[in-house]
Amino acid sequence: MYKLLIIIIITALFSCEPAMEDPYENFIIPAGKHDNGWKMQSLQSKTLDFSVIFDQSAIYETITEENQHDINKLMGFSDCNSMHHENSARFGWRWLNGKLEIHAYAYVNGERITTYIGDVTLNEPTGYQLQITADHYVFYLQGYEPVRIKRGASCNKGLYYMLFPYFGGDEVAPHDILIQILTKY
């Protein structure tokens, strides 16, 4: 009886057909919010590799004109045993002048550093890669030259918690914003 049970379990666990569902994870930032809830995940390697699709919901107009220049956060991680406002690296994005801009967005020893990388097209998957080297964060956006930002003083072994989509800046999302992300391992 137990042998039969074991065979059934093994079959169920390892012989399933691959799911045909959309491999992208939907992050919906609801209107009036900065994010879509708390998530806990730690980084697993020196390279965070993912693909993102923005749709028309990434087009927005802020209430205060100057806030249009604020950079929203896409995805990244806090550095070794640091809080993310101390040492972290993320891709950032904003809708400005009719374009979806992608930025490198990092905190180095508490100082915020941002660098424009390039523009992406709506409704098309675009590859992103964020690497940690011994002394730099390296931001790769598909089709653009990599951007390097020097890392702050930090350890190597420890907790690197992941950071997920966040709208703002100062203002909350003016409408539901859908960001589709596929993390590659």
Binding site: Y2, K3, L5, I6, I9, I10, L13, F14, K39, M40, Q41, S42, L43, Q44, S45, K46, C80, N156, K157, G158, L159, Y160, T183, K184, Y185
Partner: protein, 143 residues
């Protein structure tokens, strides 16, 4: 780090020295979001099932072409008995350790063990890796 883990497990093992214990070797396969991983481990358990152990697991093959990305994990597991039913025992088996040497991770996991003989048991596991489910099968050898 590995030496520290071994010392920690030996110390905890020594703390069990007043009670009856079982040393159990394990080998397993786990289907994770990073790919299919193989693992081995050694745990020490009291007769009531409470225990602690060392585990290592890594991908059967690299996930990225040209890169040796196998997500090796070294860590400790704790074994907390929940309940039993006939030859089946249910445990909480959370793990903590490092992936790719530097990256600390916590892996919540549960295990259902089915006793086959006095020496051998099989188990199925269900856990969470990187916010995705991770299921596995295990062969346990009670030494």
């Amino acid at each position: 780090m590995k030496k520290l883990l071994i010392i920690f497990v030996l110390l905890v093992g020594a703390s069990f020295s007043g009670t009856a214990q079982t040393l159990t070797g394990q080998t397993y396969l786990q289907n994770t979001v990073m790919g299919l991983q193989k693992g081995i481990g050694l745990r020490i358990q009291t007769n009531k099932g409470l225990g602690i152990g060392l585990v290592h697991q890594s991908n059967l093959k690299s996930t990225k072409e040209g890169l040796n990305e196998k997500y090796p994990f070294y860590g400790i597991e704790t074994v907390v008995p929940l309940t039993k039913c006939g030859n089946m025992r249910f445990f909480l088996t959370p793990k903590a350790g490092f992936v790719n040497e530097d990256f600390f991770v916590l892996i919540p996991e549960v295990e259902t063990e089915i006793k086959i003989t006095e020496t051998f048991s099989a188990a199925i596991t269900a856990g969470i890796r990187a916010r995705e489910s991770a299921t596995g099968i295990k062969l346990l050898i009670h030494l």
